[in-house]
Symmetry: C2
Subunit: 299 residues, 2 copies
């Protein structure tokens, strides 16, 4: 297929999500041009989803696009940033699998995630290679109001924004093959939701925040390490998705709920433990290791 | 190798290029936080370089890193934007080739390009997959001062910032295997220079600009199409790298010189033709097709 025809198809398919009043130049030039919000800071992150590593090759293309977008956008929620725009770099293998119709469905999933999240797709790149989506995500936060991993304080309430372990259970129970409708666990894996609805409460009240993408213990470990603290967790209080088990929640990735440390329990969150001054992590009083999904260790 | 140990090695290797006064939070949190320049617009682009497509697998890792950075950063020069920051998403295959020492050299090349260009590496991502670098690049330009592809006007002087065709000749002459020192053509291919030194003159005086990444005819075609104009080129006036031929300059990519349309010849540029009102492209009076490097058509 002609590269420029395919780019044209993608831009046309994205339609209204490529433009907004703060986007002075959208896709099609050497770069996009955007007008920053006066007195707000920029928040920026980049995330890659690779075939057979982050999603199964045979998954419906719209779900690949949707999930990749949400996984990337989740980092904005974790910083308490308002969503702004994304750039999408797409690597496509030969056109047998990834033909024009497949790309059309991928774009549909990307567009839906953009609409749901309120981000503009301001630009992108198309290359030949192993199927992968790399998405840079960009948000805005009032000056100095970003919430970091490093602000947790002893005595803080540790809390999560929803049930965990669903995506991990979907993988563990070999439910990655999609039929007509998605099971509950498949919803967790393929249709995660970046918790942008909680950005305001996190920004106003959290001391530290991170999204749970590598498993609760690992991401909590990152927060505690950055904050020079420890934590005590209560196993019974950790919300687990129906069909998943506690271990899925503790060590499974891809949930994209928020883990927050704050002086009190915030609206929309559930307490799972508290921050302590001693470095270390305890579950029901027993020491545990921070662990989770490590792309370089697993095989 | 441990993912987080490798990330730590990369961040340590980048050293001083991960911080600057406008970077409030650099690598290591869910996202970077940056302070935008008051009354300037943001310019953003994303570019992927994939093994065996954009660079040879056996190339020295520092050259892969350097070239990938410059190819991406060139888009900022093409918009007349000051460089600001990049996010680097790295996909690495198994550790036989891309071991810790290899990654160290890759990081050295990325760091050198960042220093040369004045960009901060504000964040990144590490994943397992086919070797690829996806780099989102971010610059700043005074409000409404970005130079687009669409501003060329009939009567404008078409001009380029330097000799073309060197990278294409390097590939055509099968010079991609690097020994001790780089030949002139290898310099063109592996050590391109984003023309950030010309940003100010382009911003002040150009009507339209694009970087020559897909070949002169193709990139000129993009500019003319966006500007609803045509152009007449004079073959003898097109500067060609020593060792390359005119065809390399016309249809070869990866030169990363700037192609500019302006009412007069600008300092540091060489006239190659002029813009006309009739749609179409003429070389020494004969009609030619816009053509160049197309990743999806070539095989």
């Amino acid at each position: 297929m002609d590269e420029f025809a395919l780019i044209r198809q993608i831009i046309d398919g994205l339609g209204s999500v490529t433009s907004r009043s703060n986007v002075l130049v959208g896709p099609g030039d050497d770069a996009a041009v955007l007008r920053p919000r006066q007195d707000w800071d920029s928040v920026a992150s980049i995330d890659t989803q690779i075939v057979d590593r982050h999603f199964p090759r045979q998954a419906p293309a719209d779900l690949i696009g949707y999930r990749s977008m949400m996984a990337a956008i989740s980092d904005l929620a974790a910083m308490a940033a308002d969503p702004n725009y994304v750039l999408v770099a797409l690597a496509l293998p030969d056109s047998k699998l990834c033909n024009s119709e497949w790309v059309g469905r991928l774009v549909k999933g990307i567009k839906e995630a953009a609409e749901t999240s309120g981000v503009v797709v301001a630009g992108g790149n198309l290359g030949r290679g192993e199927l992968a989506l790399t998405i840079s995500v960009h948000g805005e936060v009032p000056a100095n109001a970003a919430i970091l991993r490093s602000g947790a304080k002893p005595g803080d309430v540790l809390q999560v924004s929803g049930a965990l372990g669903g995506a991990a259970a979907c993988v563990r129970l070999d439910q990655l093959t999609v039929h007509e409708t998605l099971s509950e666990l498949q919803q967790c894996y393929f249709r995660p939701r970046a918790r942008l609805d909680l950005v305001e409460v996190v920004r106003n009240s959290a001391n530290a925040a991170i999204d749970v993408s590598d498993g609760l213990l690992q991401d909590l470990g990152h927060m505690l390490s950055a904050s020079n603290c420890g934590a005590e967790l209560v196993a019974d209080s950790i919300p687990v998705v129906l069909g998943a088990v506690l271990q899925d929640a503790l060590t499974g990735g891809d949930d994209y709920q928020l883990l927050v440390s704050a002086t009190e329990l915030l609206e929309g969150f559930k307490q799972i433990g508290k921050v302590v001054s001693d470095a270390g992590l305890w579950l029901d009083g027993k020491p545990v290791q921070a662990q989770g999904f490590d792309h370089f260790r697993e095989q």
